[in-house]
Amino acid sequence: MLRTEKVLQLRGQQGRSVRVVREHYLRPDVPCRSALCRAACPRDGKLLSDDVTHYVVPDCKVVQDYLEILEFPELKGIIFMQTACQAVQHQKGRRQYNKLRNLVKDARHDCIVFANEFHQHSYLPREKGESMDKWQTRSIYNAAVWYYNHCLGQMPVVMVTEDEDAIRQYGNETEGVFVISFKNYLDNFWPDLKAAHELFDSILQTRRERESESQENNGKEYPEHLPVEILEAGIKSGRYIQGTLNVNKHRAQVEAFVRLQGFGSKETELQSDILIYGARARNRAIHGDVVAVELLPLQEWKGRTVALCENETEDKALADTSGDPMPTGKVVGIIQKNWRDYVVTFPSKEENQSQGRNAQKVLVTPWDYRIPKIRISTQQAEALQEYRVVVRIDSWESTSVYPNGHFVRVLGKIGDLEGEIAAILVENSICVAPFSEIQMSEMPTSSSKNPWKVNPEEEKKRLDLRDTHLIFSIDPKGCEDVDDALSVRTLPNGNLELGVHIADVTHFVAANSYTDVEARARATTYYLADRRYDMLPSVLSADICSLLSGVDRYAVSVLWELEKESYEMLRVCYNKTIIRSAYKLVYEAAQGLLDGDTNVVDDIPELKNLDERTKQKKLSDLVWAISKLTDIARHVRAKRDSCGALELEGVEIRVQLDDKNNIHDLIPKQPLEVHETVAECMILANHWVAKKISEHFPHQALLRQHPPPRQEFFTELRECASAKGFSIDTRSNKALAESLDKANDPLDPIVNKLLRSMATHAMSNAVYFSTGSCPKEEFHHYGLALEKYTHFTSPIRRYADIVVHRLLMAATLKETKGDVKDNIFSNKDLQELCRHINNRNRAAQRAQKQSTELFQCMYFKDKTPETDERCVADGVIYSIRTNGVLVFVPRYGIKGAAYMKNKEGLVIACQGDKSCEWKPGSLHRFQNKITSTTTTGESVTLSLFDHITVKILVQTSRCHADTIKLEITRNATYQTSDTEVSQKNFHVVKSDLVKQVSQSAEAAQRAQEKARVDVIDEDYQEYCQTKGASLYQLLEEIRDLALLDVSADIRT
């Protein structure tokens, strides 16, 4: 036995290449396994028969690519050289190799393996610098020659190879050993074997295709990302553009947009987003990532899709549906990955089978349409089929179509209320673990037996308003967390003093305490359709910080001195105070007092059990205070209106579009003036606090801005309005407000609502910011028409207010005690915090909207649309698309898409009685209308603001949230759509929903009861707070109820 060595370069543990020397033993006694052998080879096992015309030796490439042909039983006398077998094993993987092994083992096939590399005479060492392919071909040829000689030339040997050089080089070298190409071999030796020839052609073709493909992408699914340095340099030079990737929810497979940010946008004249078309161009970026984009040449620009479509249908004819070309680019690198936890669903059993028996790798579908499928390695795929599951993405290699992830935890069963709510929370990255013990231990104690008391030390430091001021709060019924109270009195000099008192939350929540850190992380109280998750522990929010009547509470007060006649602001001061609220009024009672309605007096608990004279005295004081307040508020409001404050919030809209409205009352709310009064006082306080803190901390105050909208976003609004003959002036907030007021169709009040909702659509969101990071001109608040604004009045449920409280305290103390800079954020930190709060607010709104949709779907799910008349409703068309219309259903406040062309390509047609059915035909879209013409010549035209009857269906989806789908049933107003009947219907709806959901799950029932309480909380949130807050909440709710996301809608 001879010993030689092979030197290999291998990858070491740390990825370094290591030189490895391996032994290689050669022997003279490798059996040739031929029946012809005259030497002393052992003849056990399978032998190569001697009744063939030749032996054939395929080389590596032939074995790899044409093994299927070599499997034909007609082909006899095949010698697989060990070299070729090893090449298959290394390059083709286990499956192909096992196929080869089985072929050799199969006694019916006349083929053997010859271990040429272990034979002393047939082994050739690889020469220095020789390529692997060349060496393999040389070895195999050498082995073939040896074999021929070993059999003493009794049998010619044919070596088949695809290597042209080898054919040239070895073709005539040895007599009796022929080297030819595989095609030649088949043609010459097996001309009659049709099947083999056909198979050969088809293999050749697929191989060519694959080659041409791999030339394009080097065998990779995606191009590599560029290194960071190149990206940075490229972004600086303007070659690449940095932005955040937004995937279009409705066409998640192909369409994504990059919203510009950073350096790129300043230098390029690009105003719009950049379209990223297709998965390859997106290059493994996931929704929310910050990416670097390279623009494609102009001729490759594409238009966005304007047709309605569902995610499930992936391939549609795109040619006729795309709009004007817009800047199109491709992702060249990911600057920051914003991967989070994703909720996914495992494929069901049927789907799973199609994925092959290798069930360890499973493709799971995320709940969010915008996230690609994720490949998971798990053994539990079957057990987890029925559950919503959280996964994390680990990596996404350029060679992989899908990202790799791993399983984290189970949320709950699909379709189960708790599970779905948990899914919504995870999807919005909302963490609502109960408050920990250590956080609770920071809280002061208060119980009914042992109520919390004022600390005498603290009492000295604070201004005592308990005996001097008549303080009262006005809130909706059943409100627990009262964070604001009002007062007004006449000063000795005859002037008036107006006071706004806000609960002093910061006294109990020390900066950087555990509770503070937790509240900062939550940033806001989350209101879902049926529950809420508090920002602060309830001992604060419902007790110690709640300004209840008859108890002493700490407060932060803003007191203004007003001139008695003109209400001119003479002086303002900000103080830490102790107050005792005298009355906790509800809106209705306050309004009653204002109107002189004495019946409401009985509803005020504080006035009970008093003798008649004191009662009358107290009552007249209170009535005076309320009417004075109202007077002042009117005055302030008028001043603000003259500056152009927007009044988008029609009272009716507020009720109609309240996202609760399937469980909320639909009766138009009596517009109470006290709502306005309270709101105006809050705006006033917010405004003055904003002034104060921005003066004292010009570079690190937290304010709230509302940038003016871009004019081009109003195009759709103007066009829609012109369809009805209105003109909308969008040049300034004042002009817009006035023209919206005028655009009122007396016959159809919904038109005005829709126009207003479109207007809010076009506007940007109000956001928190730090004054140091923004030029002074941009501080302006567009909607409220104030130059400075902040949030100060709800510290119990917004973290921004807590920050503002601290700033205000620092500002006022600064006047008295010099610098108190502790606990004040620097500009950079504050900006970071603002970004966080803004993000959390958006998440809260999204979660609220999604949970509402969840309830809507659960409600409609059990109804049979054919028989249940509650599923049929009146709808108004508010937007036209190429294959359908967007419809608003006022009764349920639902917006949705209604198709005019179904999946079979049939279009809608109208009967004599105006009911609709599907018929073959075509659609034509015009600016303000869409016409469907059937092949028989009938046609239906739907225009903007037409009333139609729609059927509400729920489109269920296993992996995603269910969605509401609308179907046009009649091209006419729903008969029973007059208010009275619909109201009656609605009450049925309300009780029904509660009943049904409670039947479905006990947990849901409890949640539902809570939901009623929450509705009140919602009212509280909407009405008793600053008008600013409720306005934006409302605007954003309207916006969120829209079908498409903003990026998609604004620009269509």
């Binding site: 094993q89 286990r94 092994r101």
Partner: protein, 244 residues
């Protein structure tokens, strides 16, 4: 890429050996003149050098001296260049300490230590190139070195490893075979069949132990033949020199 198979259907291992075949062994005794005994061995690409001093008086603390027999002191080390990636082990690692202990146990069993009470025998082994089976090479080299020093032993100590491919035992595992299956290391006194050390890493079914042990024992006996030839050659050489 499919994982390489340990044993092909044709019955060859990855390096071309058949299951029972050893790697090539080459050995020399008396490579150092100043030591009492020394030996060099190659088993495949594993190269080991063993040097023996003694028996001599106790060095260092005399309190360690054993009243009835000699103390066997073993040291094991690997040259920094012995592996593909250069790694400095100035004080030796845990593995080296363990291996030295095994060596000590092995040779305490083989050397007739009761002949040299209150004295000490030092065995120093260094791996020059590591390519699997370090312990075995060390034992074999040390055996030769002890013999070269003229210290009486009960028998040769021969060590060899064995692995399993499915059901077939593989003698003298090469490093690329380390990926699969359990490893059995056996140090045998071939004449008596006594086992000086048996080490088994990873779980092995009871039924297969016998087969693996048999294969390892066979390999040890084969090694014994090789070592014996080396010793005899050396002896012939030395006597020839003396004869001059």
């Amino acid at each position: 890429m499919a994982a390489p198979e340990l044993l092909s259907d044709e019955g060859y291992r990855a390096d071309g050996r058949r299951p029972a075949e050893l790697r090539k062994v080459r050995a020399r005794m008396g490579v150092f003149a100043q030591a009492d005994g020394s030996a060099y061995i190659e088993q495949g690409n594993t190269k080991a050098l063993a040097v023996v001093y003694g028996p001599h008086e106790m060095r260092g603390s005399r309190s360690k001296a054993l009243p009835d027999r000699a103390l066997v002191n073993c040291q094991y080390s690997m040259a920094t260049f012995s592996t593909g990636e250069r790694r400095r082990r100035p004080h030796g690692d845990r593995q080296a300490g363990e291996l030295a202990l095994h060596l000590k146990q092995t040779f305490e069993a083989a050397i007739l230590t009761h002949l040299y009470p209150r004295s000490q025998i030092d065995i120093y082994v260094q791996i020059l190139q590591a390519d699997g089976g370090n312990y075995c090479a060390c034992v074999n080299a040390a055996t030769l070195a002890v013999m070269d020093a003229g210290i009486p032993m009960r028998d040769y100590v021969c060590a060899c490893s064995a692995g399993l491919a499915e059901d077939t035992p593989l003698a003298d595992r090469s490093p690329e075979e380390a990926a699969g299956g359990p490893r059995l290391v056996l140090a045998l006194l071939p004449a008596s069949g006594q086992i000086a050390l048996l080490q088994l890493s990873a779980r092995l079914h009871q039924e297969r132990l016998e087969a693996a042990l048999e294969a390892a024992g066979q390999a040890c006996r084969a090694l014994h033949a090789v070592l014996d030839r080396v010793v005899r050659d050396r002896l012939r050489e030395v006597t020839a020199l003396l004869g001059d």
